[in-house]
Subunit: 203 residues, 2 copies
DNA sequence: TGGTAACTCTCCTTAATGGAGAGTCCATTT
DNA sequence: AAATGGACTCTCCATTAAGGAGAGTTACCA
């Protein structure tokens, strides 16, 4: 039996009661998140501000690796696991991934099923998935200040002519900076480059 | 003495040891954040994963209004306040703002000084500032599905021609959708509209 | 039925993009 | 002290894409 590479579609099938992924958690909050939990649970959780009390959150902050919800020993005074069951989130696995090399950023996911525990194979596949996403979202480090400066101004809705004027360089220079930025970010358009840099927290 | 309207520049002077603002915290994480804390503290805080233990964070999650750090009674087993002092964050105020009307989103800020406590007037001004930002960041609700669909594809680096083809409409139609989206978002260019929609969590 | 709002389209102007090439500033070699 | 290579910056030009003004088409609601 092989784990194989899995994609977003496979995850939906595997976590049939929903899942949540937070990518590149830094100082306090992540760079990106994927929330495929049931809307009812999202609303209830939000209104109740459960995050700080959620044993899953506490576990992923403190640990690295994977654990079934049923194996988490952190106290649950607010009965969040019980409340989650009411929304179909009965069995689950929490996965936390930490890239020692980077600036302390970690990513985690919490996946839920309503019918049975996750198998070891599934947990392995999901761990690999989180790990992949974590590395995919690693921001490029070679984008120069001049390039980011131009990207920021694009994000702010400025035109190339205006950017050139404000920076005191030619329009051609601005174009080149944006062209370089696009290559480094792997973006096809200026709009995509600006949103990517924004999500990476570069600008 | 008047509180008056304050801007980002004024905040830097008022919180002379740094500040942190999280805007529109929903399910777990905020839509936007401003981090003007000292880099040394950011690194230490990140590496130590203090967030879940930080009495300030716990306070702003549970309460609405403003409180001086010295008045917070939540236990601080990890001595985060003491550790913060080593980075110049000696006196502080936490401000939490909740807009009952919206979908449970709240915003908060934590501001620090190294020399003295914040005055009531300052706290009032900072509260107003957070409140303003909170309302400024309220996502528009009138952007249509078709418009968001087009914005998403712009964000993904697609060209108008390709978007039109994939959606089965004319290129002019796509332009019109983007124009409407820009008006509703208050954006000057498609790039700005896409990044704004992205930060609002609309796409 | 007149008003309004979303969507659609065309025509024209202006802006962005991509390719090829060249000068500048460094740090590393020769 | 050249020479080399790399990263960055800038120019020019041809092509393509985006933006703006205006008007037509549904469809729905008062």
């Amino acid at each position: 039996m092989m784990a194989g590479v899995i994609r977003a579609d496979d995850v939906k099938g595997m976590a049939n009661a929903g899942y949540y992924i937070a990518l590149r958690l830094g100082f306090a909050f992540p760079m990106d998140e994927v929330n495929e939990l049931p809307q009812g649970w999202i609303d209830y959780y939000t209104a109740g501000r459960f995050m700080l009390h959620d044993p899953v959150i506490r576990w992923v902050y403190m640990n690295t690796g994977a654990v079934r919800w049923s194996e988490i020993t952190i106290p649950d005074p607010m009965q969040i696991f019980v409340k989650a069951q009411g929304h179909g989130l009965r069995y689950g696995v929490a996965i936390s991934c930490f890239d020692g090399s980077s600036d302390g950023q970690r990513s985690f996911g919490s996946f839920a099923r309503h019918d049975r525990e996750f198998s070891d194979t599934e947990i392995q596949a999901l761990s690999a998935y989180i790990n992949d996403l974590h590395h995919e979202k690693a921001p490029p480090t070679n984008v120069t200040t001049a390039e980011l400066e131009a990207l920021l101004m694009v994000k702010q809705g400025k035109r190339l002519k205006q950017i050139a004027h404000e920076l005191g360089v030619s329009e051609g220079a601005v174009k080149q900076r944006l062209k370089n930025a696009k290559i480094k970010l792997g973006a096809k358009t200026g709009a995509q480059a600006a949103t990517m840099a924004s999500q990476f927290g570069l600008i």
